[in-house]
Symmetry: C2
Subunit: 228 residues, 2 copies
């Protein structure tokens, strides 16, 4: 698995085997528009497995990739080459004691194979990094529970996981917002000073298309903040 | 795993643990609009695992669910309770010989636990069924490679997996369209007689948001065909 960094390069080169042109959008833009292409925002997406409860929430990751594609971003996907903390049987909602899986290998399911070891990620190569729910730390966009970790890593950062009080059960994780507050993070969507953008995503009990659109608004804001 | 049919009912009842209100959209519609709610189209989504190459393509499944949610459909998700044919290591694109996984259990990652055994699916309970890439047979919508199987199951059905000829590498699976033609299926998006709607999805080498939007157009057509 140590060669995953090199692997992603060879897979990108052999793009015909991987239909969606993630990371190749500038060429598409150049082809679609007569004017000279703008440089695309270079965004790192950091995954933590495949599936809510024991990895990145799949629909959050997919929505982020759809909106980054629509926004013309150049995307590279990363995940840590470490064993999963546990493997959840999603039909039971309980750990499957006998199984072990690797975070990078499982994340590659969402990335359709185009993924690199997180250890190879260099901040100098990216304008923004996105950490969907289930993962820690942050540069530019966080969804779902990750703000709790951002609040630990980035002192004074303003993040959100939804309203602080439950509204008839609509925000079942309101306690999380309070946990962030306790960690010193103010409740807000955009922290311009630290360039952190957050969305509650699946923390809010609403229809999937609203979550998809909310993630779209956050991705749009992130791409604006990159200035590209 | 035989109790999965009952499981989905209890999980739907305990919806607060599962934020997105799949299957509960009629209530949302009633709440959002003053007029009497129309009956929602009841759609079965049939998954075949989690991840392209050894299961349902994740971004196709997610796009289908986003668009069904936007269209106000009532969705139930199914998968067969059978072992996977193989498990693919997506970082290598090769089978992982030592692993065995169950199709229903892995599909539950996409379904966030709200899933039932395919054996419990009754056509009488649904207005349409959707089979994303990687699966066979069809009632109303197919994406990606599944039309090949539909052509085998439903004689004379019109399906599509994209253009019959490659256009500068844009349709790398053009041979599949020819395979369908050879099976007697005409190249088209909508087969009104058999009520089969298809989209090439990841069969076309294009940006992810175009695939997302293409699936949206197909889902919209499917919901129109249900007459609800």
């Amino acid at each position: 698995m140590a060669a995953a960094g090199a692997l992603v390069v060879s897979r990108l080169a052999a793009a015909s085997a991987f239909p969606p042109r993630w990371g190749q959008t500038p060429f598409l833009r150049a082809a679609l528009h007569g004017s000279a292409p703008r440089p695309a925002a270079r965004v790192a997406l950091v995954l933590s497995g495949c599936g809510v409860y024991d990895g990145t929430e799949i629909h959050e990751a997919s929505a982020i990739l759809v909106h980054l594609s629509r926004g013309g971003a150049e995307v590279q996907i990363f995940a840590p080459d470490v064993p999963q903390m546990h493997v959840i049987d999603h039909t039971k909602g309980q750990p499957s004691e006998s199984e072990t899986r690797n975070v990078l290998t499982e994340s590659a399911r969402i990335a359709r194979g185009k993924i690199a070891d997180l250890a190879t990620l260099s901040a100098a190569n990216h304008d923004a990094a996105i950490f969907p729910g289930g993962f820690g730390a942050a540069k530019n966009l966080l969804c779902c529970i990750a703000p709790v970790l951002a609040a630990k890593v980035l002192r004074g950062v303003e993040v959100t996981v939804g309203h602080e009080q439950e509204e008839g059960g609509k925000w079942p994780y309101a306690g999380t917002a309070e946990a962030i507050k306790a960690l010193g993070a103010k409740h807000s969507h955009v922290d311009l000073k630290n360039k952190v953008v957050t969305t509650p995503a699946f923390m809010c009990e609403t229809a999937l298309h609203h979550i998809h659109d909310g993630i779209g608004a956050m991705v749009k804001k992130v791409l604006e903040l990159t200035g590209k």
